[in-house]
Each structure stands twice: as C-alpha cells, then as structure tokens.
C-alpha cells in the first residue's frame, strides 16, 4: 500500500478488493505501471480492508459495502469515480496508457462510444471474476452461470473438490474451518 501522506492529497487513490485474485493482479499491474522513470508515482492504491471508518476518513461519502461492489477511484478534489469511469481515469493517470485514454472522452452528440465500450468491458470483467474462484465477488450473474457450471465440472474432472457449503448464500472461509485459538469470550461462570 502506498501511503505517502504528502501524495495522498494530490494523487488519486485506487481502492481494490484484496480478497479477489483478479483484482490483486490488476492492482499489481496498475502499481507497476504507475511508477515513472524518475521514481515517482502517478496513482496510489489501497486495499479496501475491513474498517468502514478508515474508508470514511478518506472520503465521508465512501461506503465500504459499495467499495467492495464496484471499483472506486478517489480523486484529489474529493470526488469519486466508479466503474468504467474509474477505469478510464486510471488509464489517463498511467504513463503507459494515457496516450489512448483521451479517446474515452470522445463524444458524438453526447454519446461517448469508447467510454461505453469500456463500461461494458468493466461489467463483463466484473461478472466473470467468480469463474476464477473469487468468493468475495459474489455469485455468478445469470449469463455467467453456465460458464460457472462448466468450470465447476472441469474442476471435478481434474480432482478439485469444492468445499461443501451449508447454504447457497454462504461464503466459506477455509482459514476459519478449524478453530486455531481457544475460546476467548465465554460467559463467566
């Protein structure tokens, strides 16, 4: 995490879901791409984490549930960009991608075709993340479900046995399946 306090006021901060493998890979790529030859960075990154108050300290309007639901880019002026708009702004901020990022602002009678394509691309990427085993990304969308079944079936063919879940509305935590610590909060005798 980049936390240089002097830079946080002047640079955008990209929040990412550190529980999602796809998001971590993208965040790593952004982190590397944001570094300039002179050693500076054009963008900061921060995992969303588990503290709603810490997020609200970054921006009072920032809700941790919404931060996990869609990509957020916190702008230095206090505004926030979400979804495809955030992705476009990230491209504008990265030295290697800013050359084509201007196309996202191109408008025909108020319609921005390249931005619309980017929005669609973001939605598709966001929807297919569960195929890569991300439990934090939610259940697959209806159009992704057939692919999810194929991935699951292929997994069983190659010996991967999914954890049995007591409910379809339940996120298993492999690390939590075996208690590693003694009970810490018991009713006093």
């Amino acid at each position: 995490m980049n936390t240089n306090p002097t830079q946080t006021r002047t640079l955008p901060i990209l929040l990412f879901n550190d529980e999602c493998g796809v998001c971590r890979h993208i965040a790593n790529w952004v982190r590397k791409s944001a570094q300039s030859d002179s050693g500076g960075v054009s963008l900061l990154e921060q995992p969303i984490g588990d503290d709603p108050k810490a997020l609200r300290a970054l921006n009072p309007k920032l809700d941790i549930w919404e931060a996990y639901a869609t990509i957020h880019l916190l702008m230095p002026d206090g505004s926030m960009k979400l979804g495809g708009e955030a992705v476009a702004e990230v491209f504008r901020d990265l030295p290697n991608t800013k050359w084509f990022a201007g196309s996202f602002a191109f408008s025909i009678f108020g319609f921005r075709p390249f931005q619309a394509m980017l929005n669609l691309g973001y939605l598709i990427l966001s929807d297919v993340r569960p195929l890569f085993g991300c439990e934090s990304c939610g259940p697959p969308s209806p159009w992704v479900k057939p692919f999810a079944h194929v991935v699951k079936w292929a997994g069983t063919l190659f010996g991967s046995s999914p954890h049995p879940s007591p409910s379809p509305h339940f996120t298993l935590r492999p690390a939590m399946t075996r208690p590693t610590q003694p009970a810490v909060a018991k009713r006093p005798a």
Binding site: I64, A69, S165, P166, F170, R173
Partner: protein, 121 residues
C-alpha cells in the same frame, strides 16, 4: 460500539458493531434476545444480506438487538464459535446461545424468521 454512521443506502446503521473485548458485556452478559451476525465486509453474501438485516433490525429494535462481528478483525472470536464462513447468525437469549443459521436467504421473511424464531420456542 454503534457508530451511528450513514450506512447502506444512506440509512442509519441499526446494527451494533461488537468487538472481542466488548462481546462479554454486550452479548454474553446482556439480558434479552440478541442476534449476532458474524460477517466480513469482503463477503458478497454479507453484502447481499446487509440491507435486509438493516430492515429487520429496524423492525425488531424495540424487542431485540442485532449486532455484527467482523470476523476479519475478530478471528479469535469467530474461531471460538466455530464460524465456518459468513454470514452466520447466532442468536443469544440472556447470554445463552439458542439458535444458529449459516447463510440465511437474503429475503426479509427468512432473515426475520432466523432472528426471531429461536426466541419464540
């Protein structure tokens, strides 16, 4: 501690955050019915159930308290209750566990039943 902050969809948070240090005082030594949601902010199913649980908490607030324990922050407390995943609801009556449900369906009726039925038997 309830931070009384704006939460889901701009409404006030009706669910009280409980830490390990406060668990004895706020749950185990407290009187009356209390439902504790073991959750994580990175859990998509917790995200789904959150607005429903807020509605339920608002409806039952005169008779029942609903709390949340963030298992990412309080892993030892989660382990002590053998939390296999999230969301898990555990119901306490006068400090005694009387019910538990793993991954309730995120509908108003099922969550309402989950957090009230154990206290009716």
């Amino acid at each position: 501690m309830n931070d009384n902050s704006d939460n889901f969809e701009g409404s006030t948070d009706k669910i009280q955050d409980v830490t390990t240090d406060a668990f004895n005082a706020q749950v185990l030594n407290a009187q009356g019915p209390i439902a504790v949601e073991f959750m994580s902010y990175g859990c998509s199913h917790c995200r789904e159930i959150e607005p429903v649980l807020q509605q339920v908490a608002a409806r039952v607030e005169s008779t029942e308290k609903i709390c949340r324990v963030n298992i990412a922050v309080e892993p030892d407390l989660a382990s002590s209750y053998e939390i296999q995943g999230t969301p898990t609801l555990i119901m306490f009556l006068n400090g005694k566990q009387v019910g538990r449900i793993d991954g309730p369906s995120p509908t108003l009726s099922s969550v309402m039943t989950a957090v009230t039925q154990p206290f009716q038997t």
